[in-house]
Amino acid sequence: MQGSGIGGAARAVLLLVSAWLSIGWGGSWEELKSAAGGVTSVRAEFVQEKHMKILARPLISSGVFYYQAPASLRWEYRSPLRNVLLMDAERTERWVETAGRLVKESGVNLQAMQMVLEQISQWLDGRFDENPMFSARLDPDQVIVMAPREPAFAKMIQRIEVRLSKRPGVIDTVTIYEGEASFTRLVFNNVTLNSPIDQALFRQVP
């Protein structure tokens, strides 16, 4: 029922977010590219709000993620449904809590994400304006607005807005618009850059 295209799109967004969190800020693409070079790892907590017109209240989830250059990611939701996405250059896995324990999913084709991983080094270089999936606009109020280049992708995601923090290397929020009345907002806090990360976190689910 769930295809690799949708799974790939969702995970592509996570990777973009991961990459954004590791860039240093400037007022132009060139300054972003220049400042982005020194970041090798990111750890951050997040709260995810899903807003839809029909909801009596937004759906809230929270978790933590780890990123290690060049291509290792652990995106972990801890509440309300615990699940972990593990990615590196060789594999992509999702583990979901079932009956009190984390179980590896077997029915989802995650091969599309390998292609996305190949692009992550490009994003880490701050080259958003060269991204093949999104066109990017850097607004003067520290907001990056990205729009899908492909019409098929635009059916899934209308645009993404990244609001930068005043602290270099940190972003405040990422808002993913599926339509004006349906969007997902990720709010980040406790962001740590360039601290050592146990590599087992990218390979194992405790």
Binding site: Q2, L14, L55, A56, N83, V96, G107, T184
Partner: protein, 220 residues
């Protein structure tokens, strides 16, 4: 008048249903038991439910998504949204006497999928639309109701003593097509089932295991 004619007809139909499990009518009806009417197992009022949904496929694969259901039992309307765990909406459909699909991304974009999903949602969350043909007990003593649907099919609702319940749908040839099994209620809130399993039988079989994440009452 119509009812006087229809009820005996339904009873004859019921008697002819040799493959359906027998339900023995309760003489004089069930004793008063507020809140535990024999077949009132479905949510009443207006609710927003969020479930994690684990789909188990015939090839042995499985995947998990989120299912958001907004419903009104009074109006018999529902809005059903399927999201990836990351929050992307892959299907958004509404049923208000007719089906409206607001968003459907491949492979969720076939009319067959939309219609089947909304049928499953109505089976899980709403009292059957058909006529109540009999209210009684199965052979094992469990209270049960049988509804006859407009297409000639049947829906049995079974309420067990441990507060779990089950719904079984049969087609007009009395073949079992769906089984819904609700686990024990959550310990908090309005007492909705902590888990609901829906199994589709036949050549296109699948199984959905729904685990309740939250239930939010919608203010009128």
């Amino acid at each position: 008048m119509i009812g006087r004619i229809l009820i005996p007809v339904l009873m004859v139909l019921y008697a002819a249903c040799a493959r359906l499990p027998a339900i023995t009518p309760v003489t004089g009806g069930f004793p008063p038991d507020p809140g535990r009417a024999p077949c009132r197992v479905f949510p009443e009022g207006e609710w927003q439910f969020l479930h994690s949904i684990k789909a188990e496929l015939p090839d042995g694969g499985s995947f998990t998504s989120l299912g958001l259901t907004v419903l009104s039992s009074r109006n018999r309307t529902s809005r059903s949204v399927i999201l990836t765990i990351e929050g992307l909406v892959v299907f958004d459909g509404e049923y208000d006497r007719r089906l409206t699909v607001h968003r459907a991304l491949p492979p969720f974009d076939s009319p067959h999928f939309a219609g089947g999903l909304m049928d499953d949602i109505r089976l899980v969350f709403f009292e059957p639309e058909g006529l109540l043909a009999i209210a009684g007990r199965f052979e094992n003593g469990t209270p049960a109701c049988r509804y006859v649907e407009l297409d000639g099919g049947f829906v049995d609702v079974e309420r067990r003593a441990d507060w779990t319940w089950a719904v079984r749908r049969y087609d007009s040839a009395q073949r079992l097509t769906r089984t819904v099994t609700a686990g024990q209620p959550t310990g908090t809130g309005a007492g909705f089932p902590a888990t609901i399993e829906l199994e589709a039988h036949g050549s296109r079989n699948y199984k959905l295991v729904m685990t309740l994440v939250e239930a939010v009452a919608i203010a009128p």
